[in-house]
């Protein structure tokens, strides 16, 4: 006999008039591990943020143990026994494990003022021992491994008597043995009657650990089934659907594959992330790197850009070895980094100041930066990339995500790069700006630039790539021409290893 601890029905949610959830539903049974899947933007995170009280729903009902609930704040959800384990851990690194676990609800002495330290450590120890984890509650969190931090995060949830735990991509940064430990723990939690929502893109893991699966697409739940009753193909189809936009259609391009490669990567190694990766890219070619989050994609391109230390192998541009960030930039490599807000832009500065940043030497005449030429160059990029802004002097934090991303692109286009690398270029970018970017990348490649693109959105990757490398666990496990990839489903299959 199974009981539903959580029933979410007909949930609607819109941001600025854009519907993100449309009649989405989700049910969770007592003691099950339930996978929640979907592409980026399908609505999984929004649905879970409504469950945990971060967002408020526009319509629909949420029932916990058969009673209607409505959470105005995360605190309310926490009181109802719902906890979320985030990808970025919410622990305070300078406090000890025990202090973190009991943060805000420390066991107190009779006078309700002083903390009972020994009691707190004893209880933290008890919870951790139940996991079979040998973590000293007196260790500081900053000294723990990623896996251990996650254990502490889960222990923190349990100390608040959580009955529903939402895990968002819990294995993205874990080692293999840490994943095993996590799975043991998940099974143990299930036995205790705790229900788990498991958000992940990794199907192998989902089939291994989850009892049921719900797949979402475009703000709706498309499929809910027992894991044993649904094949990977059915699952991928449910997530992708068939309503694809024309902008994301593949346009075959002619690339001279006999030309000498402009970028050559040989036996590249970055300890802990990248293992013996080799590939090359020709002028005018668009190479897509497909892989799951944490597969080493970003580390590969950061090593090429010289901003991440290489532990072995070589990177060559036009046959010349590149050893540092400076070498790479001077040789003509540009990187549009993964996180536009922290790595790509200085948000408080103007569009113009951001565009000229990697190009200061080019804009300098007689010791001084030429503001007039910089403004003219910015105006050119604004027109060329159709950046919506008031002008080159506008501060970039005032612009939308898509327009910000175009500015990061402009920074490197200004250098007329030989190799342009784009890491997740369309995250947080609306569909209009997205197709704009796709069109622009094709145009850049047509002009002879070698382009390397990383994207978690395979639709987009398939739309622009001439060739695809499949990255799994730090290695290249596949190298295929775009025309040999039959479907998005096939690519989803391939990256699962």
């Amino acid at each position: 006999m199974t009981t539903d601890v959580l029933i979410m029905r007909d949930i609607d949610k819109a941001f600025n008039g854009n519907p993100v959830l449309r009649h989405a539903g989700f049910t969770l049974r007592k003691g099950e591990c339930h996978a929640l899947m979907g592409e980026n933007g399908a609505g999984k995170s929004t649905l879970m943020k409504i469950l945990t009280g971060v967002y408020q729903r526009d319509a629909g009902t949420v029932q916990i143990d058969g009673t209607d609930v409505s959470f105005a704040a995360p605190r309310d959800a926490e009181a109802a026994g719902i906890a979320m384990i985030f990808q970025e851990f919410s622990l305070i690194p300078t406090l000890t494990v025990a202090q973190n676990i009991f943060l805000g609800h420390e066991p107190k002495r009779g006078n309700k003022i002083f903390i009972r330290d020994a009691e707190m450590i004893r209880r933290a120890h008890e919870i951790l021992r139940e996991f079979g984890e040998n973590i000293d509650p007196r260790t500081r969190v900053e000294d723990l491994s990623v896996g251990a931090k996650q254990m502490v995060e889960i222990a923190k949830a349990l100390s608040k008597n959580a009955r529903i735990i939402v895990m968002d991509e819990p294995t993205a940064s874990l080692s293999e043995s840490e994943v095993e430990t996590l799975f043991r723990l998940v099974n143990q939690l299930k036995k205790q009657g705790i229900s788990i929502v498991y958000i992940s893109h990794r199907m192998a893991e989902i089939y291994q650990i989850c009892d049921r699966i719900t797949a979402m697409r475009d703000g709706r739940d498309m499929l809910t089934a027992d894991t044993s009753d649904v094949t990977m193909e059915e699952l991928i189809r449910a997530m992708l659907g068939s309503d694809r936009t024309a902008a994301m259609d593949w346009i075959p391009r002619d690339v001279d594959m006999t030309a000498a490669p402009v970028l050559e990567v040989e036996n590249l190694r970055v300890n802990g992330y990248v293992d013996d990766v080799s590939f090359d890219v020709r002028p005018g070619e668009i190479l897509g790197l497909a892989g799951l989050t944490g597969s080493g994609r970003t580390e590969i391109v950061e090593a090429i850009f010289g901003i991440r230390q290489i532990d072995g192998g070589s990177v060559r541009i036009d046959g010349h070895s590149v050893r540092s960030n400076r070498d790479a930039i001077e040789a003509g490599v540009g990187l549009v980094p993964e996180d536009r807000r922290t790595q790509g832009l200085i948000l408080d500065h103007s569009l113009r100041d951001n565009v000229i940043l990697p190009n200061l030497a080019r804009f300098t005449r007689n010791l001084f930066v030429g503001d007039t030429t910089a403004r003219a160059a910015s105006d050119r990029h604004i027109a060329d990339l159709k950046i919506k802004c008031e002008g080159p002097e506008q501060e970039v934090y005032l612009l939308s995500g898509g327009n910000q991303q175009k500015i990061v692109l402009a920074k490197w286009l200004e250098r007329k790069p030989k190799v342009l690398i784009l890491d997740e270029p369309t995250i947080g970018v609306d569909i209009g700006a997205k197709s704009e970017l796709v069109r622009k990348v094709r145009e850049i490649a047509d002009a002879g630039t070698a382009v390397v693109v990383i994207s978690s959105e395979f639709e987009e990757l398939l739309a622009i790539s001439d060739r695809l490398l499949i990255i799994y666990d730090g290695s290249v496990i596949g190298n295929m021409n775009r025309k040999d990839v039959q479907s998005e489903e096939a690519l989803h299959h391939a990256v699962q290893g």
Binding site: F15, N16, N18, V20, N40, G41, A42, G43, K44, S45, T46, F305, I307, N325, R326, I329, L335, P337, T342, Q343, G344, L345, I346, L347, D348, H349, D353, I356, L357, P358, L360, A361, F363, T364, L367, F368, V369, D371, E395, Y397, L398, L399, S400, G401, Q404, K411, I427, G428, D430
Partner: protein, 325 residues
């Protein structure tokens, strides 16, 4: 889901007509303070040319330090060791002159003190990633200790005509030499911060170190150079102090680091880096000097001066605060 549609925040800085009060708070304050003193104590000598030049002369050292400080703060760091470095440079240059190395030898010796302290600060902050607040707090003490030990707190008189002419309390035409130094440093600082690639690198490093790094900027090098700038700026200020007094003393520049930080922030530079203005800093330093001068003429004692000056700084910074977003 990644933020579906990034919201378009509105700039909520309050404007009146075409004047942006927030960005220009230091000029408004300065004008207001001048007007206030002119009305209340204009007839007690505040408005005389000699008093105004007196303000300019006594403010010069803090102004020079503040201008150098604008660079390090714009790069996202802080330098608390400037006051003790000024005294070190003052003493070492005076001793060098006393020992017969002459004016040029003395000045070089003094400036090298600034370079040395700057390099030590820069090394610990960049190579060992220790917060600049801690490194320079320690260096402030350490260098002040050296200052006291060098001459066992005895003053070192400087008898050198060139030194007196270049750094002394005299005037060129009618303008005090010391003030001309401050103006020259301000112009140089303004040009470097505003118009050179290095200036852009400083602001970029302070605005977002990661993004600067991903744009190919060597942010560690930028920070080391900024520490050299504060070291050398402080050394110059130390020699100006010697020039004004005719004697180098171990206690030159006590509290100068805080006055300089106040001038920089009042001027409109962000304490967190990324936004910096030398002209604002210069006016900020003049504002602090003017307040001190006016309060003395009004007959307030030291305790009252400190209370009023402190309150004005807090209020000005509160009004100039950027709206949170």
């Amino acid at each position: 889901m990644q933020s579906k549609a990034d919201p378009m925040p509105q700039d909520r800085s309050f404007t009146f007509g075409r004047i942006n009060w927030r960005e220009n708070i230091v000029y408004i304050c300065f004008a207001g303070v001048l007007l206030f003193f002119a009305i209340t104590i204009g007839d007690k000598g505040f408005l005389t040319v000699s008093n105004l030049f007196n303000i300019a002369r006594t403010t010069a050292m803090i102004a020079v330090i503040s201008i150098a400080m604008t660079f390090i703060i714009s790069s996202g760091e802080l330098d608390l060791s400037v006051g003790s470095t000024a005294a070190l440079a003052a003493l070492v240059s005076a001793l060098a002159i006393q020992a017969g190395y002459g004016f040029v030898g003395g000045v070089i010796a003094g400036l090298l003190c600034g370079v040395a302290v700057g390099l030590v600060n820069g090394f610990f902050v960049t190579a060992l990633s220790i917060p600049s607040f801690l490194v320079t707090l320690g260096m402030m003490q350490l260098v002040r200790g050296i200052d006291m030990r060098i001459t066992y707190t005895n003053p070192v008189p400087v008898r050198n005509e060139t030194f007196d002419t270049v750094f002394g309390p005299g005037t060129i035409g009618v303008v005090p030499t010391l003030f001309l130094w401050a103006v020259a440093v301000a112009i140089l600082g303004h040009v470097v911060l505003r118009y050179t690639p290095f200036g852009r690198q400083v602001l970029a490093t302070g605005g977002n170190r990661e993004a600067a790094r991903y744009s190919g900027i060597n942010t560690k090098r930028v920070k080391i150079i900024c520490f050299l700038i504060t070291g050398v700026g402080a050394a110059l200020a130390g020699m100006l102090w010697t020039g004004m007094m005719g004697t180098a003393r171990y206690n030159f520049g006590e509290g100068a680091e805080l006055a300089a930080i106040a001038a920089v922030i009042l001027g409109g530079t962000s304490l967190f880096g990324g936004k910096g203005t030398i002209i604002g800093t210069f006016v900020g330093a003049l504002l602090i000097g003017t307040i001190n001068n006016g309060l003395i003429i009004m007959g307030l004692d030291v305790s009252e001066q400190m209370m009023v000056a402190g309150a004005i700084i807090v209020l000005a910074v509160a009004f100039g605060k950027k709206p949170s977003r």
